[in-house]
Symmetry: C2
Subunit: 561 residues, 2 copies
């Protein structure tokens, strides 16, 4: 038997990674990548940063860390991999084990025999079926040339609309702000980052970003884009309003490129992406599929999901590279961990969201915790709001979300690692995480959050969310909010309502008789720590209809005076 | 039965935490803290940052995040806890269940009855038995007043010596540099941070810190401190040299304060610290002990260790607070996770070090990996060197260390979490860690490091460490180093030796005949990625006596031209 012929369709992320790993394992294999584009192995995730200007040179998105361009020559010389750019795979002949590739400049077709085939055809941006999508100044941000075009166009733009508040939409909005373009983000769902954050977390993030100049139009459906006389974009019209726009970035998601696989009779999953087993094999054992064109197993829910992320593409590439050269590596599945930076806020999630978990039938305990990412006296400390979603029956952590100017992402990585190993909420406080003032606090906020869940589960810390308290206020409920902060803090900002009273924590024991015993009491502070302390004091004094507001005013996305 | 009387001896970290948790669970318990000092509940770990000036006000180390001083009044009013400062617990009457406390100003003794007693007596700095330790200008850094005194003295100092290159010594040296004081650190062991880093990692860190102006004298024993005519310090004399010093900070470690416990007949462990069970009970079930005065179970080695860290003090305080009020909480043990920042380098470790593991009888595989903490095109990217120590038999991760200007500490937290759950090295690449260019790379460096271990275990990546290669060079071994970087990189800096040849990775296939087949070959690059790639190419071409140097030149602590 000679060395295997490995053909890989797709040259962006998963494909080249598969090729590189396969080459290291099989030095004499014949490895060919077919890519219909002229760019290969580029840093798609870097485009928003190129737009924002933090990545200075377009070429950086195509270069190795040591400055060599990742082009056909690079793949040939450093990796020993042939790359056919400008070639489209138009057919897979499974019985003949050949791929038909068409040279897109000449139209010429050639047949590439394979022993193992890897489909890495990626995804394509969804184009919403609305008028005006073809106007000058309407862009998407999925391809390096999109970034080039937007960067060029941006120079003369002062206001823009982003359609879609998902990961790419938010990163695009961030880049626009960075370039001093006034940006409004329109989202059909009633929250930003619907695939990443629960609604409560998204509301806090949106409020903080709006304070910094981003604008959101949530729960609005774009019905058309309007142009001016020159054929340029002039406005985005939603079902509720008309937004002036000199530029529009459409970022409403992607769908997997599965046509080739479908035509070849390979099994497509219920998510619409290619179905693969743990070895990343399709329904044809000699054909693998990786990256944005495949669906994945969600390790918490056990369901198949379509979550196309660059990290999966790369990690799957390594697994496929193993398997096409005779190993038996597995890609177990995903937790849907997603992180992003938008303005000065770090955002992350892993595992299931609250609503997702509830829809799957879990009875959950959730908490939102406001905490500093490091000791409060360290000048670099920043706020993090962390939400944890725990299965009430098994006490297993189902998911976690974190947002804030502080280091939210480290905590998401810790949570993702813990969830990977099936951690219960009670395991987190036992973790031996690194503590030093520049990095964390003696009990890290991820452990603190877990402790709050445990307190809540034991009914030591009955709580109410910001959203629930807002609803009570708006409904006119007869209850009392006891704000236990210092008078200085209260004076600076508080909820203006007749039902709010100020009793500073240090005074609460001696002023306890001022607090009505015949009414529902909600305790409130800045971050939820003092209000919990106050709750325990009131409980000790016989109060029973008491709650504290989770996360304190840091988790309050509504108006204050 | 009435509400329990809880007496806590020690008011710095573990004691107050125990009191606070106990209070929340038992609103009517009688809780008293005895503290011989006048300061309580202070941020001991913050002292170096106060010295360095990043913590501006001394009072910040004694205040809550919301600006209230954590003094006796605070504990009484907010926590309902009595604090007797300036009182020393001089005796525990176990049969009478009373603590004898002496008022240090009046000499008066009182007896405090307890139902549950918690010993949180902490640790004391080791004073080396050398002459001159009492000279003016010789300090330690273990108490807030030390920090005040040093800060004051510092104003007129331009050169100082730190004795001890442990955590506190290094943080002190960092603070001195921050204040533009020339600092030399003397360490008896032949490496810096002996309790934190393996020798190879410490060598790289020391080299990088020396490039920035810190000086180290390793393997030198201080024999005396010399004074001038005014009784001020003038020099530190080691067994090898005399170092001028206008100021000296002695930081050679701490020992647990166990006299009171020993006198009371409580069991002291082999480490010299108080022995406790998982519930933090001493040999007397009504007496608990927490924090710097207790020993802990190391969760990897299964041995008792004395590793006094603030995070353990705080987490144990919560557990003890549970148990003295009738719960059954456990503190499982530790991994010895330690992190610190020194100059612009982040440093961390968790689990066992290589030498420790080997002494315990493990057969280990280790690697040192140089990697960027985020995508290399992101302007904030920084280098991290990560070392992983894996049990060859079980493939379990025994320990990890990371250093670098990049975010090393996040990776230590991920490793610590994984080790907590008994992770094998093969589990790490399956983790769904958050990827976005500002935070990480598509395959995070902790996963990349694990993959290198796996490659090494499969003999795909035979390697040599920087230390081993230096020894080969120094010995005059007949071998060839093939540096596979670009000519530009080579020109900027390389190992100057006749045995080094430059063959850029992209040229290696066509220049392969220039590489001698009859000699041992070591492949070298900047970070270990290209040299591994080159190794696979040579292997494919039939070379067998080949290795690559782990971590590349980023892991090379020796001279280059």
């Amino acid at each position: 038997m000679g060395e295997p012929r490995i053909v890989i369709i797709g040259g962006v992320a998963a494909g080249p990674k598969t090729a590189a790993r396969a080459r290291r394992l099989a030095p004499n294999a014949d490895i060919t990548i077919i890519e219909k584009d002229r760019y290969i192995s580029y840093a798609g995730c870097g485009m928003p940063f190129y737009l924002a200007g933090s990545v200075r040179e377009f070429g950086q998105l195509f270069a190795t860390a040591y400055g060599v361009a990742r082009d056909e020559q690079y793949f040939l010389r450093e990796k020993g991999v042939k790359v056919l750019t400008g070639h489209e795979a138009v057919e897979i002949d499974r019985s003949g084990k050949e791929v038909v590739a068409r040279n897109l400049s000449t139209g010429e077709e050639s047949r590439l025999p394979y022993d193992k085939l890897v489909i890495a055809t990626g995804s394509s941006p969804i184009v919403p079926p609305i008028g005006g999508i073809g106007l000058k100044g309407v862009f998407r941000l999925n391809h390096p040339e999109d970034a080039l075009r937007i960067k060029d166009y941006l120079e003369n733009v002062s206001e823009a609309v982003v359609i879609g508040a998902g990961l790419i939409g938010m990163e695009a909005a961030d880049a626009l702000r960075e370039k001093n373009v006034f940006a409004t983000v329109v989202e059909m769902k009633d929250q930003i980052l619907p695939g990443v954050l629960d609604r409560d977390m998204a509301a806090v993030l949106a409020a903080r970003l709006e304070e910094q100049g981003l604008e959101f139009r949530l729960g609005q459906k774009v019905v058309r884009i309007e142009g001016d006389e020159q054929g340029g974009v002039a406005a985005v019209v939603t079902d509720q309003e008309r937004l002036d726009a000199e530029m529009v970035i459409v970022a409403v998601g992607v769908r997997p490129n599965v046509e080739l696989a479908r035509k070849a009779g390979l099994k497509i999953g219920q998510t619409g992406a290619i179905e693969v087993n743990q070895h990343l094999q399709t329904s044809d054992p000699d054909i693998y599929a990786v990256g944005d064109c495949v669906e994945n197993l969600h390790l918490v829910s056990g369901r198949k999901v379509y979550i196309p992320l660059a990290t999966y593409a790369n990690r799957q590439g390594r697994v496929a590279g193993d398997n096409v050269t005779g190993r038996k590596s597995v890609f177990k599945g995903v937790l849907g961990t997603s992180v992003l930076k938008v303005l000065n806020w770090n955002v992350g999630r892993t595992g299931l969201g609250q609503q997702q978990a509830e829809e799957l039938g879990y009875r959950v305990i959730t908490v939102v915790n406001s905490a500093h990412d490091r000791t409060h006296y360290h000048p670099a400390h920043g706020l993090v709001l962390m939400k944890m979603i725990v299965d009430e029956n098994t006490r297993k952590i189902l998911g976690a979300q974190a947002i804030g100017p502080g280091d939210a992402v480290k905590r998401i990585d810790v949570a993702a690692t813990a969830i990977h190993f099936g951690a219960a909420v009670d395991d987190l406080p036992d973790l031996d995480l690194g503590y030093s003032p520049p990095f964390s606090s003696p009990i890290d906020l991820v452990q603190h959050t877990a402790n709050i869940v445990r307190n809540k589960a034991e009914n030591l810390a009955p709580s109410i969310t910001a959203e629930e308290m807002k609803a009570k206020l708006d409904r006119g409920d007869d209850f009392v909010i006891v704000d236990v902060r210092t008078p200085q803090q209260f004076g600076a900002k508080h909820i203006e309502d007749g039902r709010v009273m100020l009793v500073t924590l240090g005074d609460i024991r001696e002023r306890i008789d001022e607090i009505p015993r015949d009414k529902e009491i909600v305790l409130l502070c800045a971050m939820g720590v003092r209000s919990y302390e106050a709750l325990r004091i009131l409980h000790g004094a016989g109060f029973r209809d008491i709650k504290y507001m989770e996360g304190g005013l840091q988790a309050w996305p509504y108006e204050m005076d």
